[in-house]
């Protein structure tokens, strides 16, 4: 029964019922105590008022009338124990030895008995306790009856009030239900009960985050589509040139161009996929410790052929044992992109040095090249998606550093670009958080 309304109703009514029962019990015990006092006095009076002379023809009917409603039983014995009088022969009680008040358990329930010595006779007046209990119970019930009759009314009132109190939630649910997926503006907060406001606030914050995420996704898709046009345009033009080619030589050259164009489009698609997989905000898929030294060795050996082709001297100059929790494949893509950039922008005869250092428990990977470096004003923008610096002979996707940044962010690592002093050259440092 997971309904606030029902739960409230149940608990409130249970509480009320409990209070009613407690009040009843209290009224009952109090009334009973008062009745005891009163009836005991009555018994005493009765015993005293009996005729003290000889028991001749006592008018029993008189006594009977007197005693009937209170269930009184009167018994009189003389000194010798001879029974002189029984008001009700049917409900005979044993003669009590002691005088005064006593409570006797009989087969017909508990009786209150008062014995007194009146001249030479023993007078015993008795009354069943049930009379007193009935009286007390009756009192209690009469007092409680209006409250009991009120319980259903209270139930209905609670049902309605709680329903009204929860109506803002229904309205919110309606408002949310009618929204289209891209309507992510904040919900109105005016007139909301204090209890619901935190929920709406939290919801609005979530909507805000969703909206920003959606915007960045839209921008990404638009950028991606736009960027795909360029390599596709190149491929289309190259196909046409290949079709027009008249000689085998021309055709061969055109196809070589076409292959490069196709490779470039494929590379861009691959980079887009990598970027999409490394969206910021996602935690790394894996938190297994990654051996950074092994990673650096692997990436350097992977890019050795490209470096050789470009006549760039690529090497791992320094390594220390270091490991960070993270996603090995992602870190490999990150380091690979940086090494690839360094090789591509370094002129033939240059050097690319990769180094892995530990500084005060923090691991850092440095990639230093002897390329042209990056002007200071561009250092922040190079991480933007599709940002390319001035026309260079390298036609990259413009995504490499954006991917690096995303992966670094997901691993709580920093990426620092700085021009080497003395130049020329660029040094990229990836600083990991202390383990």
């Amino acid at each position: 029964m997971n309904s606030i309304r029902r739960r409230l109703l149940l608990w409130l009514l249970s509480g009320l019922a409990l209070a009613v029962v407690a009040a009843g019990a209290r009224i009952y015990t109090q009334t009973l105590a008062e009745a005891n006092e009163l009836f005991d006095y009555h018994l005493q009076q009765m015993a005293a008022s009996l005729p003290s002379d000889s028991f001749g023809p006592l008018p029993p009917s008189n006594l009977n009338e007197l005693a009937a409603e209170d269930g009184l039983v009167v018994q009189i014995w003389n000194r010798n124990g001879l029974e002189l009088y029984f008001s009700r022969p049917a409900s005979k009680l044993p003669q009590r030895a002691e005088l005064g008040f006593s409570t006797v358990d009989t087969s017909r329930g508990a009786w209150r008995v008062y014995s007194a010595l009146e001249q030479n006779n023993v007078v015993q007046v008795a009354q069943p306790m049930s009379v007193r209990q009935n009286l007390a119970a009756g009192m209690a019930l009469r007092a409680l009856f209006p409250l009991l009759a009120l319980l259903p009314v209270l139930g209905i009132l609670i049902w309605i009030t709680v329903g009204r109190g929860l109506r803002p939630l229904d309205r919110m649910a309606d408002a949310l239900g009618q929204r289209t997926p891209d309507a992510l503006d904040a919900l109105p907060q005016e007139g909301l009960p204090r209890e619901i406001r935190p929920l709406v606030q939290a919801l609005n914050e979530l909507l805000g985050r969703l909206s920003r995420a959606l915007e960045s996704q839209k921008a990404f898709v638009a950028d991606a589509a736009h960027e795909l046009r360029t390599p596709l345009t190149a491929v289309q033009l190259q196909i046409q040139l290949a079709e027009r080619a008249n000689t085998a030589e021309e055709r061969e050259a055109a196809f070589a161009q076409l292959k490069r164009g196709q490779a470039r489009a494929a590379h861009l698609v691959q980079q887009l996929l990598t970027l999409a997989r490394q969206e910021p905000g996602l935690a790394p898929r894996s938190q297994a410790p990654v051996d950074l030294a092994a990673l650096a060795r692997l990436v350097v050996s992977e890019y050795a052929p490209l470096a050789a082709e470009r006549q760039v001297d690529l090497g791992l100059t320094h390594e220390e044992p270091a490991s960070v929790p993270g996603d090995f494949e992602a870190l490999r893509v990150m380091l690979g992109n940086l090494v690839d950039n360094a090789i591509r922008y370094t002129p033939a005869g240059g050097t690319v040095d990769v180094a892995l250092r530990m500084n005060e428990g923090k691991a850092a990977i440095e990639i230093a090249d002897t390329g042209p470096g990056i002007p200071q004003e561009d250092c922040a923008r190079v991480f933007d998606r599709f940002y390319r610096r001035e026309a260079t002979k390298e036609s990259g996707s413009g995504l490499g550093l954006a991917i690096v940044k995303n992966i670094a962010d997901r691993h709580r690592a920093t990426v620092l670009l700085e021009n080497r002093v003395p130049g020329p050259g660029l040094r990229v440092s990836i600083g990991f958080a202390p383990v």
Partner: protein
């Protein structure tokens, strides 16, 4: 006809240059907005092919500056920006035509021809001067309805002169229309081609204005 291509992407630039040169256009290619402005100020072009997303100076800025200077050169925008607002903005900034990437080489060449035709005040795609007719699309030339075989350079030369009959073009101007950058021009090439054209089309087809240059006479 000499064109300036402003395109920052090396592959596209390479392909467009190759394709348009096959179509007989002389084409210079620069890769950023500043270089484009420099080229426009130092050379005479018949048409500008302009990308919008350029390093250093955006295509629209180049175009706006060009029109502010009062330069009436025909401009064809080549861009990946396909939104209607982008196209409207491009045309309203002063472009004559707008082609969205990816585009077809044939279509690009046809649009260039159409712009050049309009620029010289013609609607007929075939240039007719007296008994001579020149088709820029097919590179066919005929004299008295008889086809005449011309080399690519000869065609480029007659096309340049025929585009504006009555206007005298200097040897340097003709050389510019024949060659893009990076082509070594022999000192007497234009004379060689003029000589050959006169031989094929008749001696009065092209007149020499001594000390000034060459002209195709307007038919009376």
């Amino acid at each position: 006809m000499r064109l300036l291509l402003v395109e920052d992407d090396p592959m596209i630039g390479e392909s467009v240059r190759a394709g348009l040169q096959q179509d007989g256009f002389a084409l210079d290619w620069v890769q950023d907005g500043r270089a484009a402005e420099l080229a426009l100020q130092t050379n005479q072009y018949d048409l500008l092919l302009l990308d919008l997303g350029l390093p250093r100076k955006g295509g629209l800025d180049v175009l706006a500056a060009l029109r502010r200077r009062g330069d009436a050169i025909a401009v064809l925008i080549l861009t990946a920006r396909d939104a209607v607002t982008d196209r409207v903005k491009g045309l309203d900034t002063g472009a004559d035509d707008y082609l969205v990437k990816p585009f077809d080489l044939e279509e690009l060449a046809a649009r260039i021809r159409a712009l050049l035709r309009r620029q010289s005040g013609r609607a007929d795609p075939v240039i007719k001067i007296g008994n001579l007719s020149i088709n820029p699309a097919t590179h066919e030339v005929s004299l008295d309805a008889e086809p005449v075989a011309l080399s690519a350079r000869e065609f480029a030369l007659i096309h340049a002169l025929a585009a504006r009959p009555g206007v005298v073009l200097s040897r340097a101007q003709l050389e510019e229309k024949l060659y893009g950058w990076g082509h070594e021009v022999e000192s007497n090439t234009v004379e060689v081609y003029i000589h050959s054209l006169r031989r094929k089309l008749g001696a009065d087809a092209i007149q020499n204005v001594r000390g000034v240059g060459y002209v195709m006479p307007k038919p009376s």
